[in-house]
């Protein structure tokens, strides 16, 4: 486990770095007027003054990596698009934010949708695309409303449409609402869904950069990745690289949730630790201590209080045995039953498994059966090995990353909390009281 060097100045002013969230508290922050008052669309002007190839190189040199989970370098994704191939190119923004615990893109789009639109125009100029899509999960109508309005404003102001800012660039932007399917966050399933099909992942290769939407070269990027591009152009790649580390440069949104004193969004340079975030925000809820947490959503192996000082960047979290994922820091205190938590996540994966491949479809089903029995006190000790065995038969053997995600909470909880599973079996039931975990458990006026 890596431990960061002692930080001299631990004040939030030094540790946090609001960029995308810098003016979310302003009145009508989501409008074009307010965005422009904060130098909105200045990054686009700088980008249009460069050649598309130089622009791709610039974003690559900034070191920006994908914020949707995998951490793939954004500029490299753009560079993979074959040029001069005579086919249309597409940009598809993945706004299907559904990973349990993840809640950064939705507030970003609600409060500052123009940062995404500006980033999309820049990206389309770079990859020579004239039609871009935002695939927004359907269950967030307030965000859809603002995206509709922001796109309308951008067309009216000449940031979308024909001959954008006199550059000769034409760009059509379509906002597309999904219809409820976690799997559509997987990029190839998203493309199938956007083509009007069941959202099931595709075999790769061919990769989307070669055969994506309508079998044409396609870049699929996460909302936060694309929304970070305008600030990089505006303030420069050196500014961006001055934050975070060599391999994980820049700023990002951390989403703190669960049994903490102040859940919410914290934008900071990559590499901040959970201890620092908790120290500045009031820690866990009063009288309780951290038991387990996820660094980046339920699909990333869980951590415990041993991992409070792990630097939350791609390398730091990876070295400690998990993944940075979406930086969804779901924190659970000692009142929470880990078996209950893992059972519920596993039920989610079973529900959301698209059914295309056998290991995931069958494996998640059987994991749920075993976990429900264990949670209810009807399990046997051999069930624990069976759990691990089934998870092992899903992990790395399924068609897409959903299966790997389903195995993560099983492996990691068995690693850190095997005793708690055993307690459920030997004690013939769950030793925890769910009422103690609720948000109102310590508020006497509610619980009376």
């Amino acid at each position: 486990m890596t431990v960061v060097p002692e930080v001299k100045d631990t004040s939030p002013e030094k540790l946090l770095a609001p960029v995308l969230s810098a003016f979310w508290d302003e009145d009508r922050s989501w409008t074009l007027d307010v965005y422009r008052r904060h130098e909105g669309y200045e990054g686009l002007r700088k980008a249009l003054a460069m050649s598309p190839d130089d622009l791709i190189a610039y974003v690559k040199e900034s070191g920006l990596r994908g914020r949707g989970g995998a951490g793939f370098p954004t500029g490299m994704k753009w560079q993979f698009i074959p040029q001069g191939d005579g086919k249309p190119h597409y940009l598809v923004v993945n706004a299907d934010e559904s990973e349990p615990g993840t809640c950064k893109d939705i507030p970003l789009l609600f409060a500052n949708p123009h940062s995404l639109i500006e980033g999309m125009v820049i990206a389309c100029y770079a990859i020579r695309s004239s039609h871009a899509f935002i695939y927004l999960r359907g269950e967030v109508v307030p965000v859809l409303r603002r995206l509709h309005e922001a796109v309308r404003e951008a067309y009216a102001a000449g940031y979308l449409g024909e001959n954008i800012l006199g550059s000769g660039l034409d760009l059509q932007l379509t906002v597309h609402a999904g219809a409820g399917a976690y799997i559509c966050g997987e990029e190839t399933a998203l493309l199938d869904s956007l083509e009007g099909r069941r959202g099931q992942p595709r075999l790769r290769p061919p990769f989307p950069a070669v055969e994506g939407l309508y079998a044409c070269p396609t870049v699929v990027n996460n909302v936060e990745s694309i929304a970070s591009v305008p600030a990089i152009l505006k303030n420069g790649k050196d500014w961006f690289r001055s934050m975070g580390s060599e391999k994980s440069p820049g700023f990002t949104l951390y989403s703190l949730s669960g049994h903490v004193a102040s859940p919410g969004q914290y934008e900071a340079p990559l590499g901040i630790t959970l201890r620092q975030l908790l120290d500045m925000s009031g820690g866990m809820r009063p009288g309780h201590r951290l038991k387990f947490w996820t660094p980046g959503g339920s699909s990333t192996p869980m951590f415990t209080d041993e991992h409070l000082d792990v630097p939350l960047d791609y390398e730091g979290v990876g070295a400690a045995g998990s993944m940075l994922g979406t930086k969804a820091l779901q924190c659970f205190d000692e009142t929470t039953c880990v078996v209950r938590a893992v059972t519920r996540w596993t039920e989610f994966y079973a529900h959301e498994s698209c059914g295309k491949c056998t290991p995931c479809r069958e494996g998640t089903y059987w994991l749920v059966q075993l976990l429900r029995d264990i949670e209810a006190g009807k399990g046997t000790m051999s069930d624990l090995d069976k759990l691990a065995d089934i998870a092992d038969n899903i992990n790395g053997k399924s068609f897409c990353a959903l299966g790997d995600g389903a195995a993560s909470p099983i492996f990691s909880s068995l690693k850190y909390f095997r005793e708690e599973y055993e307690q459920h079996i030997t004690g013939r039931g769950c030793p925890f009281d769910p009422a103690k975990s609720t948000a109102w458990a310590d508020r006497p006026e509610v619980n009376a």
């Binding site: 509709h148 309508y214 969004q265 769910p434």
Partner: protein, 288 residues
């Protein structure tokens, strides 16, 4: 096997008649809308998800007539449309209430109280998961993570956010909905009906004056980091807006019994072919 298929209530062999068409005026109106949606995409089939939202905005759920309409507009078979309509959870396959109340019971919200809220509402409304109250107002269901974990526990009504809920606030919420009292989401615009929501999802902007700006710029939890970075004191713990500090006592504390699966309210939906009361299967021409 001694009972016949009809005695068991299972229809075998008799092909279903084609779905009835929309009345001419409805069809003409929907066709104009559909053409607008289709024009947004390089390939017409991409319009299928929005068109299913569109037909849902007409009838409140996706009917065989609606699916036939989508198939006609996109030159697809009804089998192709059915395959898509049954894959996504936001398409309802039976008549439901004006207000869809979804309680998040994914792990974080469940632990923070979503399970207790869902139980309370089931008991209070006398309906189970996916069921509608007798007055046709409220359809209750449990939902998966809705990307608002910093506002847990979360309840969605017609896909608008009701943050930081308690059993008490959720009961008042559904009572208000059933009594027709105005209800304001925590973030976002005042509620519209499920059908009106479906039309926005089909890609038609909300035309109500002021709807886009309602709910302010960002919810309180979205701003905690920003405020700290500015040197402002850590905010007080967010209190849900509907209840205020006073809450009636919680009705019951959940006692898990070994026989009960805390998480087992996730029964799969009937597939269309096995749901004879609400058939959504292929029409007769294509055979079953």
């Amino acid at each position: 096997m001694t009972t016949s298929s009809s005695e068991r209530g299972v229809s075998l062999g008799m092909p279903e008649l084609p779905a009835p068409a929309y009345p001419d005026d409805v069809r003409a109106r929907l066709e104009a809308d559909a053409r607008e949606v289709i024009a947004r995409y390089p390939d017409s089939r991409s319009a299928l998800l929005p068109l299913l939202h569109l037909v849902q905005s007409e009838e409140g759920h996706v009917t065989r007539t609606g699916m036939q309409f989508c198939a006609d507009m996109l030159n697809l078979t009804t089998a192709e449309v059915t395959a898509v309509a049954t894959f996504y959870t936001m398409y309802r396959r039976k008549p439901s209430g004006d207000y869809q109340v979804g309680v998040c019971t994914n792990t974080l919200c469940a632990v923070m109280g979503g399970d207790a809220i869902f139980e309370t509402l089931q008991e209070h409304l006398g309906v189970g998961n996916g069921e509608t109250t007798d007055d046709g107002k409220v359809t209750l269901e449990h939902i998966e993570c809705n990307a608002a974990c910093d506002f847990a526990p979360v309840v969605m009504v017609n896909w608008e956010f009701f943050d930081n809920q308690t059993p008490g606030s959720a009961k008042r919420l559904v009572d208000d909905l059933r009594e027709g009292r105005p209800v304001q989401p925590t973030r976002g615009a005042r509620l519209c009906t499920f059908k009106e929501t479906a039309r926005i999802l089909a890609g038609f902007p909300d035309e109500r004056p002021g709807a886009v700006e309602e709910g302010g710029s960002a919810g309180p939890a979205s701003l905690v980091g920003l405020r700290l970075a500015r040197g402002e004191a850590a905010p007080a713990r967010v209190v849900h807006p509907r209840g205020g500090p006073r809450e009636e006592p919680q009705d019951r504390v959940h006692e898990p019994s070994p026989a009960e699966h805390l998480s087992s309210h996730d029964a799969p939906l009937d597939t269309s072919a096995s749901d004879p009361a609400h058939p959504a299967g292929p029409t007769a021409e294509e055979g079953e």
